[in-house]
Symmetry: C2
């Protein structure tokens, strides 16, 4: 008998039938004798509806009121799942963030979890084997007593933080796909589920286009040593375990091929090649909360250089403004934006000990006539920027070249 | 400058445009210098949707979880109205029942308000002229920390209780009609708004089919001496003041003609005419929480009698079961139910000092050929049961007979 946190995303609780289906997964674990805490998202579409109402009420809406409105979505799902579980004869009780409490920072709409008091929930496990159904995505600001929300992907973070607070043996993330795949199966039909992957690889996958888990929840899980199991709520397949790297096992050279079409490239040409120039630019972008991913600076010709960087497509206009306002400071000639790009990445813990992956990647792309516009690497990842229209082809050929098509 | 509680019902906050309209009413009072607390219902239809989900999740749903789910409707409206008010440049903050707190009994789904701590809200009036926007219909069980709801009409009760706690000068109830009318204007086109009415008359109107205010909120207002103003949120008409009877003013003999088609009649025939027989029947009905309104027992023939009573139509089946199970005990022959009835009532504080109202009522109905099946009276009300199909005609002729057609 162990202790388990089970998290169900919006599509897994989209209506009462799906909530009933989620309840059957919970019942399986309860019947196996485990202590179970369940974290739920809002029913699919509900959060967007609530956000839309807030925007409609006022474009400059107060984040404290936004949080009070938007947190209601998870509250409804938690109550409904508790009712369904009770109907199956399982002791269950719903909990909102303020009731546990889940104490957060005061950064409304993007609060950070500071502390979760799990004592009451653990007592209820012991005394009555009661399942705790927790509204994800939310907490309370202990100074003001106001509801806070954690921002997008917040329910995953709630689940992982709760698993840490309850010293759970496992945090199961139920979603609409059966695990983490070697590539997006819609792009690569031969892609297959990865049975086990390290936190580090999962972080790189999440950062380069894999949408299964939020970056933030994986970071939290790694930092707090909470093993994750990603699986589908619609099938009973075994899913993907995300856990510490096992140094005794040989790592696959490449675990997954990811792609991301949500970024855009911005290039400043004719930038004066002086120390501190790039620093000034990226400081100004950071001040606008713009998340810069890749950065490439070409070698200097005649005392000027080009700087290219990528930003989320939503931030293109703001980034262009920042760059344009600095043309004089930078001594730059012009700003060019390019939304027709995509990044294709290889992720694999084995890369650390296998030289030649980069060469194989470039050769494979070259053989297909795919041009590489930018390159960025980490010890366990290589990302190449290519034209968006050839991104899927790039993923397909790389998936084949690194022998991911065969079941592992 | 005074202190005001303003309550907006579901149709008055059914969408963002209507919430904006409600906000304009609030702004008018804020601009006049008043302290303002606003109580809101859920957007029209929202509570029914949430209730439906709970029923769908399990027919025997736990009332504590039902409350957690259903209370979310008012929470959303409160946040949205606070956002809209802020957009108009008004300091505003939303409050849920547990935040104030509004402490209630532990009767989940039909809790009673025990205590409202208004100190923090009053401080915020004083220190920053901040409008409090309060989610109606809900509170917290102080023993368990769980959300409770007050049952149907609960937001009116929240408003009145809050007005008492804040020692407000007036509690304004904004709804979709411009006040309390001498009869339902859909039935009597010449019916007109009553500018001022006593709590006692309002109680009788609410109890006999007037749907504008819930019986419970009027009782609370009378007991706590909170004057009410019922008005439309869609027009700027002056509405109806509900307040203490003014003994110095002459009362109209009849203030309003009401009708109610939501009741059914149940008759037990051949009941043994012995002491305690009727008591046993009505005790059993009360044990099933069935609200009996009129009761008539005919004079005895040969040691048996007939007992007729009315119950809400939703309770007909349960009442029939109770009565049928007692046929032996009662020595009764049979149970007959009749859903084709309606009650028509005259309400007026002046009846106390004007004999002859009953006679005029009966004569008026007789002249129209309308048969009276049962009669029930209070010092300021006379109710007659008639066939449902002639109820509207009865209202029309009584409205004319008591000279209510002319503006008062």
């Amino acid at each position: 008998m162990g202790r388990l946190v089970m998290k169900f995303g919006g599509t897994s609780v989209a209506n009462i039938d799906r909530i009933r289906n989620a309840a059957r997964h919970v019942k399986r674990e309860v019947d196996a004798g485990h202590d179970v805490a369940v974290v739920v998202s809002a029913m699919a579409g509900k959060t967007n509806e609530l956000v839309e109402w807030c925007r409609d009420a006022s474009p400059m809406h107060d984040a404290r009121e936004y949080d009070a409105v938007v947190a209601s979505g998870e509250q409804v799902t938690a109550g409904l799942l508790a009712i369904v579980l009770q109907g199956l004869g399982i002791q269950a009780r719903s909990w909102q963030g303020w009731q546990i409490p889940i104490r957060t920072s005061d950064a409304h709409a993007s609060a950070r979890i500071l502390e979760i008091d799990g004592a009451d929930l653990i007592n209820r496990f012991r005394e009555r084997k009661e399942v705790a159904v927790i509204a994800g995505f939310q907490g309370i600001n202990p100074q003001t007593g106001r509801i806070t929300t954690l921002g997008r992907g917040g329910s995953d973070t709630t689940a992982v933080a709760l698993a840490a607070a309850l010293e759970a043996d496992l945090c199961e993330i139920y979603t609409d796909v059966p695990g983490v795949f070697t590539a997006d199966p819609r792009v690569v039909p031969t892609a297959h589920r990865i049975p086990r992957i390290s936190f580090e690889e999962m972080l790189e996958i999440a950062a380069t286009g894999g949408r299964v888990l939020s970056l933030r929840s994986v970071e939290f899980a790694r930092n707090h040593h909470v093993p994750l199991l990603v699986r589908s709520s619609f099938t009973w397949e075994p899913g993907t375990v995300v856990t510490e790297e096992d140094p005794s096992m040989e790592q696959p050279v490449v675990s997954a091929v990811t792609h991301d079409t949500s970024q855009a490239k911005i290039t400043l040409s004719g930038v004066a090649d002086r120390p501190g120039i790039a620093a000034a630019l990226f400081r100004h972008l950071a001040d606008r909360s713009i998340n810069v991913d890749m950065i490439v600076q070409n070698i200097s010709h005649h005392g000027t250089t080009d700087i290219s960087f990528t930003v989320p497509r939503d931030d293109v206009e703001a980034s262009r403004e920042v760059a344009a306002s600095m043309l004089d400071t930078l001594g730059a000639a012009e700003v060019v934006t390019d939304e027709g790009v995509a990044t294709v990445s290889l992720v694999g813990a084995g890369m650390k000990t296998h030289p030649g992956v980069t060469a194989t990647m470039f050769e494979t792309l070259a053989a297909e006539g795919i041009n590489i516009e930018m390159i960025s690497t980490s010890p366990i990842r290589i990302s190449c920027m290519v034209r968006a229209e050839v991104a899927e082809r790039a993923v397909q050929v790389l998936h084949g070249a690194f022998e991911l098509d065969a079941p592992s």
